[in-house]
Amino acid sequence: MLKINVVRNLIKVSALIVAGGVVFPPLTASADGHYDGVVVNILTRPGPVIAGRIVDRAEEFKEMTGAEIRVAEAPFAELFQKILTDWATGTNSIDVGVFASGWGIELVGGDLVENLDPYLAKDDKIDLDDIAPYFRDFNQKVSGSTYFITLDGDFQMLYYRTDVLAANGLEPPRTWEEYLDVASKIHGQDMNGDGEADYGSCIFKKRNAQSYFAIQSVAASRVQSMGTSEGIYFHHESMKPKINNEAWDKSFELYKATGEYGPPDELNQDIGDTRGLVVGGRCGLAIDWGDIGPLSIEEGSMIKDKIGAVIMPGSTEVLDPETGELVACDANTCPHAIDGINYAPFAAFGGWTAAINKGSGDKAKQAAYDFLSYMNQAAQSNVDVTMGWTGYNPYRNSQLNDTAAWVDAGFSQEAAENYLGAIKESLNHPNMASDFRIPGAQQYTGVVLDRELARYLAGEITVEQALENIEEAWEEITDDFGREEQAELYRLSLGITN
């Protein structure tokens, strides 16, 4: 009894304190559109990047339709947890989550994401055919239905300093062996005119950051040669990991070897650090997502019109999945090879995509869909992707065919053609490697692969031990989630339907 009184008084006191606090102004929504009074809450990561453009477009959308789009923000590292908790506990204070598409598989598996097929069927403005095939057919879909709307197209490319390579009489590398060769030749030269020795290669290697994407980019062209549906992680039928083999072995070694021509503390650099170095003109070669292009023309950049992009380096030998050994490329083993080199651009991260909460109200869902479609439509997104600060990279063919918008944004004609050419080549590549898109993706790659890679890079274990550990841990995770289910979902994620 006493206790109850105390609690009640406490609550009273605290309520008074709260009431004395800030009173937020009531909402004022007045537009003539058909969504008057509808509120859509979007959660994404903070800052101008990604979120900034959503806020701008939300204002336009409100004027058009009357729907109020509120953008809430959560720090990158905990963003997904926050969305997950909100949706899975039925709080449903968030209608739309904007996050990496790879994370979303888990949510779709939990039946938390609205299936967008009915909405797409009624939408005549979105023009799906214009979206690059990988994003349209793999990235937006789970088990054959569309669940996500792409806002940003992500995959990694190789960037090189056109001036540095030209001065040394070198061509941009086509294979990873050539990459090391070029890096070794230019390492130690002064590339930004400040009198200090700069680095041949910059690839982020920090743990729990993005290094597990980079290693997959390196490995993809050795592991996958038969087209996107081959996949780089498992054997389709048995779900046995395709990891403990010569292809990954070699890739681990190559990745570590690039460190010799990199900054001394590369092991503790994430993508933000290496990007700073690249834009500061300190790197000859670098791996990055599409962002370097728009960043290179920003104020303070030392590499304006000095940076070129090409498809990720390939390999002249590929994995024979039966034996686990590397075999030379020929017409049979590498049907998509060019000049005997097999390329497999890796769709790392999958890009920022939006998903609609299944638990939201019908009106909010429809308004949310219309807004996302509006963002995705060529008229809007073709402008957004040319602006570096938005963080959006191209994912539509119409964004790549026309260089005018890019030249307007500040590129030289030549740089724009080079940059768009590399993107186009990667984006439409029939052998594009798909990112992990089954439940537990974070555990498989973000935790296990990343950790063992970090231990190998730090010299704690050998590459053989690392691959063995990964294989064992992957098997454990697969058994945990159920081997049959995982195999089924894995096949679906690669578009194999039988």
Binding site: A88, R207, G276, K358, A454
Partner: protein, 362 residues
């Protein structure tokens, strides 16, 4: 009514705190304990929970995560054997002495738990560090706790003592020394990441100048660990400082004056008057600091992300990473292992150091 309140004043004073803590602790504690025996999946618009027994714990201690939590084991070196056996003998001696002197069952069971854990940690230490094998997150956490707290206590107390003396500008020193604690822990992590950057941080030129241009602290396990302890100390010495300052300031002046009249030397005065007076607070401060240090997560997460390899990863960080990859079962299991280690360490410290003192006081 008034009479009743007056009679039960003791309970009225204690009840709000106990009730609030109960309300906030029972459900989360039970829920997370249950979670540690399960695998959690998302399904059907909510969570699906499957009990797996001890599997989560087994994986940490004996399975594929063993190297991660406690370390890699090969064989124990000669040094490892010597230290391990010597320490075991000391522990055995202590427990035998206890049994012979004043035996109670509660006391005995409590001491046996302490004994078992001390023994386990001792052999863990012998089998990993002393035998040249890498140790896991438990070892790293203990390093942060014991080395970090030790340094913080020594420096913090000395600074507090100096600032309680009649020195010039002591008010300014007091505020300055306290500043680092005001910064949000995440902020401290980022500040020290800037400090430690060997290419564009403030000490980049110093690194070059002393010829360490090619040496990156972040690639050397011990350098990285020490660096995290430095950042941790930078942040938490102020805590020890402010508490010990308050303690030194609350030493009754008449006691010290009396000592001076007796012509006690400064050292004698410190040892016999001041130190016994502040000791209880010092013990509490260290206990609180140790509890927080066991949970260290922001600094290694931001400064090194647990790297190089797993060299700077604390148990708490391991749980955080498991949690972030949606492995809630593993996260809870790891957190409970940490809870166990922390509770036993702190309870031993509390019962054997603080509690006996409280008993003496009564």
């Amino acid at each position: 009514m008034n009479e009743w309140i007056d009679r039960n004043m003791g309970r009225v004073f204690l009840a709000p705190a106990v009730t609030l803590i109960l309300v906030f602790s029972i459900f989360p504690l039970v829920a997370s304990l249950l979670l540690s025996f399960t695998r959690v999946r998302l399904s059907g618009g909510g969570f699906k929970i499957r009990f797996v027994g001890w599997k989560n714990f087994e994986k940490q201690f004996f399975g594929s995560e063993q190297f991660h939590l406690i370390g890699t084991f090969t064989e124990i070196s000669v040094l490892g054997w010597i230290v391990g056996l010597a320490f075991t003998a000391v522990l055995l001696g202590w427990i035998i002495k206890y049994i012979r002197s004043h035996f109670t069952w509660v006391g005995f069971i409590g001491r046996m738990i302490t004994f078992a854990m001390a023994l386990g940690l001792c052999w863990l230490f012998s089998a990993t560090l002393l035998s040249g094998n890498p140790f896991g997150t438990v070892g790293v956490t203990l390093f942060y706790v014991f080395v970090g707290c030790g340094i913080q206590f020594l420096i913090g107390t000395s600074l507090a003592f100096a600032c309680s003396q009649r020195i010039m500008g002591k008010n300014a020193f007091r505020v300055i020394f306290f500043v680092p604690m005001m910064i949000t822990p995440i902020g401290v992590g980022y500040i020290f990441r800037m400090m430690a950057d060997t290419t564009k941080g403030p000490f980049a030129d110093v690194w070059q100048w002393v010829g360490l241009g090619e040496f990156a602290w972040a690639t050397n396990p011990w350098a990285a660990r020490i660096f995290i302890v430095v950042a941790d100390s930078w942040q938490w010495i102020p805590f020890v400082f402010i508490m010990m300052l308050a303690a030194f300031e609350s030493v009754p002046r008449d006691l010290t004056e009396a000592a001076e009249l007796d012509c006690a030397g400064p050292w004698q005065k410190f040892r016999e008057i001041i130190w016994p007076h502040v000791l209880p607070i010092a013990a509490t401060v260290m206990l609180i600091r140790a509890i927080e240090a066991f949970k260290i997560v922001d600094l290694p997460n931001i400064m090194t992300s647990g790297g190089p390899g797993i060299a700077t990863e604390s148990v708490s960080l391991q749980a955080y990473y498991a949690w972030r990859s949606l492995d809630l079962g593993a996260a809870s299991a790891i957190a409970y292992i940490l809870l166990f280690v922390t509770v036993v360490t702190c309870a031993s410290f509390f019962n054997l150091v603080i509690h006996s003192r409280i008993r003496k006081q009564r």
